[in-house]
């Protein structure tokens, strides 16, 4: 077939010849050429609709009135203004944010205006809290508190249990998210002898029924309440901690900084508690979310942490 074609309609040559080798002229198909011309037309249309040509210190912004974007934006003093501009990415972005906010508004308005208890009782609203909360939590909280809020020993507290270092009421959780927290315990290596720290550590282990040396713990109990060590200032005379300052409850079996559960044997558990008393803690920093998240998002997260993860008071 192709041979037939070649013999019947011999293509014209380009007219140049090198060492007897000639170049045929095989024009492109007409439809393809037209596709090429259409890209020219497309370009001109694009110039009319979108920012395109630089002119001195400025540039063409598309024909006024032909292609615009309308958006609503908040001003510094909280007013909402509607504006129409030439097409550009930043106006388009605001327009898209408006669309999303319009869809979520009914739910966020409810969360913002209702009391915590009412939000938690509203089953339909809680569906929104659960799904929006999960996303917010994954983006912002999970890197420290882990995906399910189970926390990480030696790093960030478990949010699903009943122990709340800085308080587990709605208001306290809200305060924690909005302003962040800073856990601090002084180092006692300069204040106490190693033997005294051993006694204290045995007492701390005894409080939650961990294996310990009873005679050392008895001395430790005295030390705990003494002016010399002063543990009771923060942890309280009953060692149950104080959520106002974030001091830990030492009488429950929940450990955050000393990995007592993760160590096997009395010696290793003792070493863990001694390590914390010796070096203290200046690491438990939770960042501030007040500037990063919107007020209604923080409120939603508060409900999510309190009710969806469980354990809130």
């Amino acid at each position: 077939m192709s041979q037939d074609k070649a013999t019947t309609t011999a293509p014209k040559t380009m007219g140049h010849s090198w060492d007897g080798i000639e170049e045929y002229n095989n024009p492109l198909p007409t439809w393809w050429i037209w596709g090429f011309y259409i890209t020219f037309i497309f370009t001109v249309v694009y110039w009319l609709l979108y920012p395109a040509w630089p002119i001195g210190g400025n540039y063409t912004k598309g024909l006024t009135g032909l292609h615009t974007i309308t958006y609503t934006a908040k001003t510094v003093d909280g007013k909402e203004v509607e504006k129409t501009t030439h097409w550009n990415m930043r106006s388009k972005f605001l327009h898209e944010m408006n669309e999303m906010e319009a869809i979520q508004k009914q739910w966020f308005d409810k969360v913002a205006s209702m009391s915590y208890d009412d939000v938690a009782k509203d089953a339909e609203l809680m569906q929104f809290v659960n799904s929006a909360g999960k996303t917010l939590f994954s983006d912002n909280c999970a890197p420290c508190h882990q995906a399910g809020g189970q926390g990480k020993i030696g790093f960030a507290p478990n949010l699903t249990d009943d122990h709340w270092q800085f308080g587990g009421t709605y208001d306290e959780i809200h305060q924690t998210i909005e302003h962040g927290r800073r856990g601090f315990m002084p180092a006692f290596k300069e204040v106490l002898e190693d033997q005294q720290i051993t006694q204290l550590a045995n007492y701390v282990l005894s409080l939650s029924g961990e294996p310990h040396d009873a005679s050392l713990a008895t001395v430790g109990a005295q030390l705990f309440k003494s002016e010399e060590a002063g543990c009771y200032y923060c942890h309280g005379a009953d060692a149950k901690g104080n959520t106002q300052m974030g001091s830990a409850n030492l009488t429950d079996k929940i450990w955050l900084w000393a990995d007592v559960d993760g160590k096997a044997g009395q010696e290793a558990k003792l070493a863990e508690v001694k390590r914390v008393i010796t070096s203290g803690l200046d690491r438990g920093v939770m960042p501030t979310w007040g500037g990063r998240l919107k007020p209604e998002q923080i409120k939603l997260l508060t409900v999510y942490v309190h009710d969806s993860l469980g354990g809130g008071r």
């Binding site: 605001l94 690491r283 960042p287």
Partner: protein, 244 residues
């Protein structure tokens, strides 16, 4: 000039080829230098302090940019995850800038303040201890390597040549006081660079080990300042529209 001559003369062919292929780049890039609104007028953007700058050098040395971009695009999904879209002004002192369209890890343009110093130290040393699904390599040497900063003045002088306003004279220092305020201007003064670097590292204690200054101190100091310089509360939501 005939086509025949161009094709038979390598030198001319080379020149014409280079001209032809650079036209696209030139018409897109050169006008940006002349358009007044390319870089937004915004307060707060300042050059990096000596410690942050050393951290930035380590960021580049370790190839963080191969997986992390520092450019939040004006898209809804990006704003919801990372925050306000990036401004050109925010990287005006970056040489080289860290924009990019290739992300294996998340964008870092606004990572400053999102996590604690402790988190960064732990995460850089062993990422999977905090983010189980992470594919980021471990960088355990950062916390061990002492930070080398005896050449910090040279590094700042090199950046000064590219237009970063580090000050090397009293007159330049005064100019910085006017532009950035005295507190910032002090950190940009080249003769005091070592002193400022040590002071910031000790005050900030970025690697949670106050006994030494490590590469971790510098890198975390850099990460913690990313995207925090502009206070967006001071501007209307659509203030930055007029620059596009």
């Amino acid at each position: 000039m005939k086509h025949d001559n161009i094709e038979r003369n390598l030198g001319i062919l080379l020149v014409f080829t280079m001209l032809a292929i650079s036209v696209g780049g030139m018409v897109e890039i050169i006008p940006l230098f002349f358009i007044k609104e390319t870089v937004e007028k915004v307060d707060g953007v300042r050059p990096y302090t000596p410690l942050e700058q050393r951290g930035r050098d380590i960021y580049i040395r370790e190839g963080c940019y191969l997986c992390h971009s520092q450019m939040i695009r004006p898209f809804r999904d990006e704003a919801l995850r990372y925050g306000h879209y990036s401004l050109a002004a925010e990287s005006k002192y970056d040489h080289p800038f860290q924009w990019g369209s290739k992300r294996t890890g998340p964008d870092l343009a606004r990572v400053g303040g999102k996590y604690s110093n402790d988190w960064h130290t732990q995460h850089l040393t062993a990422p999977r201890s905090l983010v189980p699904q992470s594919v980021m390599p471990n960088y355990p040497w950062l916390a061990k390597n002492e930070l080398k900063y005896d050449d910090i003045q040279d590094r700042m002088k090199a950046l000064r040549r590219t237009g970063v306003p580090y000050s090397n004279s009293q007159a330049e220092y005064q100019r910085n006081v006017e532009e950035f305020g005295a507190d910032v201007a002090k950190t940009l003064h080249i003769p005091d660079a070592e002193k400022n670097l040590v002071a910031q590292a000790q005050l900030g204690n970025y690697d949670t080990d106050p006994s030494n200054i490590t590469e971790m101190d510098a890198l975390v100091a850099y990460l913690q300042v990313l995207g925090t310089m502009v206070d967006f509360k001071k501007y209307d939501d659509d203030y930055f529209v007029k620059f596009r």
